[in-house]
Amino acid sequence: MGRQEPKMRISERALTVWRLYGWISAAFTLLAGAGVTTLALIFDWSVWFIIGAGAALVLEIILFVFVLPTLKWKRWRYEVREEEIELQHGIFVVTRTLVPMVRVQHVDTEQGPILRKYRLATISISTAATLHQIPALDIDEADQLRDSISALARVAEDDV
């Protein structure tokens, strides 16, 4: 059966945020679509341009607002153990990452305006050569996790 999946899930509010991102990008598609439609009407292009733009918009809303965020959220797992951090994510390509605690160089939390509104934060874990992120954790949990990781992470000089 192999290694067990990491146990912890990211915040459920991530779903709301990702859907919001989906709506925002859909709004841009709407703008572009409106542009195409206007041009099509002015220059008498084929009606298929308008249909295409509309279809793209609908498809994008279905995918990026309803389908993908849920799948993405379901797949996202992480677990911070005493000596290692394990992550798993990805919809079409599942990625499982293992980072030993001694490899961790530093941990950051960051939040943009949208994440802040929903009291969420992204954790970035840097090793000497790689960067790993856990998106959208509850801010308190993220702060606590950041502190505990940076306490657990000790960099041995020999090991860089």
Partner: protein, 504 residues
Amino acid sequence: MSEEKRLHPITTVINALKTLREAFIPIVILVFLNRGEAESILDYLPFFIMGAMIILFLFIGVIKWWRFKYWIEEGELRIEQGLFVKKKRYIPFERIQSLNYTEGVLHRPLKLVKIKVETAGSSASTDSEAELTAITKQEADELNRIISSAKKKLKEEQSELVEGEEFVEQEPEEHILYKMSPKDLIVMATTSGGAGVVIGGVLIFLSQFGEVIPFEAVFAELVDFVEAGFLLAGIVAVLVFFFAWLIAVGLTFLRYAHFTVKLVDKDIVITRGLLEKKQTTVPLKRIQGITFDQNLIREPFGYTSVTIESAGGSVLEKDSNAIRLLPMIREKETYAILDQILPDYHWKTEFTGVPKRALKRYIFWKMLFSLVIIGPVSYFFFPLGLASLILIPFAIILGWWQYKTAGWSASRDQMTLKFRGISKQIVYMKKKRVQSLEWTQTIFQRKGDVATIHATIKSYTSGSHSSIAHVAKEDADLMMDWYSPEAEVKKVHEPTPVPEIDTP
């Protein structure tokens, strides 16, 4: 050596030449813009601009040299430079890994060296390093001695030596590990594909001068030529290849002549070069991993090239981000040399291959890719384009070959990955050097119960990534367990010994 110092004045010329080299293409364009008949003074304008530019470069070179000062103070190498914005860079000795020497054509008659300060550079900023463009060899050696003795003293203080044990400074022991013979160099130039590159370069060069060379006349002659017999054409082709090969050999000699690997104390020192002598120092403890690389021509002859991945250091080194330790050597000769440098590595490991169900995955994608090319080519160039069908057997052979090559092994403290793009690569990594381990699994891979494993080690400021596609999923999990510190702890506490992951 604590007083402020300037670099050797030749620096001004070197700086100017460097700037000029960067401006080479604009200058060439300027010259060619002016190819027509000169009718008025305006037609000479580009040359005036050029002349002014060259003077300006020289002037900037002088200013730069004038403003550049370096000195040693409080266990730091301090550098001050800049015209409008004064830049000060203080590098503590313990952050300095090594000083790398380069002797260019301009340096050698004056007994000067260029020094590149290699720092541990954990951050990705290019600002973390420094270069002293031209100082005398004595000064360089003096600097080197001060830094290394300061570092030793520091270490001594940290380790708190037992009383009575005196710190004795000794001349570091030099031990030559490997020297490249001229014969090796010729074999290397021949098998590196460099000749091909030279031919390509000549063709590109010729195409640039399309207007200058009367191609039509040349073609007309060429037709006569072909009529005169294929033999002659054949001879010319052979000659072209021969000259390309000669140039490749020449270039290889320029860069790699006198290639010597020495072990000095705990550093590997690599020296090479004919006109420009280069010396690279790699501290042993900075070595992150070792890669064996065998290209298609070298593989059947048992030749390989060995490179080191090293952490930190300067981004200025443009050659590649890995250091060539043994550019060209018979594989069986490598182990004796490597054992002297890195005795804790196991060079001969048994590899676990990828499962049989991986074979079709290796072949499938290459087939698909070749079909993407073949389709349009066959369609648009109908009868001739069908020749592209030849890609299919190649795709199959390459896929099968990659499948055959792919393999991994994980012993107690070392992971070895073997894989092939077109060249075969074997990467040796110590567990404690692996920064993160990862597997990925696409939807198709999940069906076949296989996964792709990725290991990242640090290489200079970024990471070096090695991966094997389509290993059995349970093997991927085994590797994760091997890598996981938690699983290690569990293993220790378990009463019954867990079977060694080392290959069956």
